[in-house]
């Protein structure tokens, strides 16, 4: 057995570092270990790819539109504000 200067990441460790990796918050060493692991581990590559797919899907979500009652109330407030000359409620 030779001693390795930097131990390999396990899959179990990698899944806890995915967000730090995607956010660019890993140290240079950890980033290297992370990327090295991905070169030989198909399963973790799948995992990271799925994380990216989740983020892409989240980015496609649009929020439900504003409820009509709330919108009407706000529009009425805006009109009131306008009549007040921009200085708040009359």
């Amino acid at each position: 057995m030779t001693t390795r200067p930097v131990p390999d990441l396990t899959c179990k460790e990698l899944v806890e570092l995915v967000t730090d990796y995607l956010e660019g918050r890993l140290s240079a060493d950890d980033r290297t270990r992370f990327e090295l692991h991905l070169t030989y581990c198909d399963w973790c590559r799948t995992y990271v790819e799925q994380m990216r797919q989740v983020l892409a899907a989240a980015g496609e979500l649009t929020e439900a539109s504003v409820a009509p009652e709330a919108r009407d109330a706000l529009l009425a407030a805006f009109r009131g504000w306008k009549r007040g000359g921009g200085g708040g409620e009359p």
């Binding site: 396990t10 899959c11 179990k12 460790e13 899944v15 806890e16 995915v18 967000t19 730090d20 956010e23 918050r25 581990c41 198909d42 399963w43 973790c44 799948t46 995992y47 790819e49 799925q50 994380m51 797919q53 989740v54 983020l55 892409a56 899907a57 989240a58 980015g59 496609e60 979500l61 929020e63 439900a64 539109s65 504003v66 709330a70 919108r71 109330a73 706000l74 529009l75 407030a77 805006f78 009109r79 504000w81 306008k82 921009g86 200085g87 708040g88 409620e89």
Partner: protein, 218 residues
Amino acid sequence: MESPTAPEPPPDVAAADERELQALRAGDESAFLALVNRHHRAMLRVAALYVKSGASAEEVVQEAWLGVLKGLHLFEGRSSLKSWIFRILVNCAKSRGVRDARAVPMSALEDEDGPSVPAERFREGDDRWAGHWTEAPEPWPDARIESGEMAALVREALETLPAGQRTVMTLRDVDGWESPEVCELLGISEGNQRVLLHRARSKVRGYVEKRLAREERR
């Protein structure tokens, strides 16, 4: 209202804000409605961290918009318009939260334990494969990813998250907020924000995986 710690808006944001402000101050209703449409849902979600009921959150957001209108002529652009609006919101929500006798959202923003992937998915023991997958994560079929079904599953998954995690992930990954904006809004550290985001994303991935696997077997 504009705290000295607020990050200065980048020039492109500042320029867009300035155009928007001019339209708002001139009484342009469509500009106001566009602003409401852009932020209202996220405001409701943030308000819900501080107050008890959905009805209270609605009232807080309405109150915040009135505060925005009142302050519109005072806004000086030292922060972005968005972060100014949300700061007003959080102030309204906090005072309402105190009146509702609800503790401030620290509980919602606390970390909770638990691994990102269930421990039984990994090998135990001290052989060379310890900590590696016992069973591979199955790649998701392209057809299902591209169908828009993924987005629907992610939406469902977000609803199952604790409020703090849901808020952070929705602001970051749905609304496209930057990490410093989220930290400033919620008054949490960057590290805490990242932990919440990580827990949220990991759970959402797990939820999607479970749902897709269950349906593939049918």
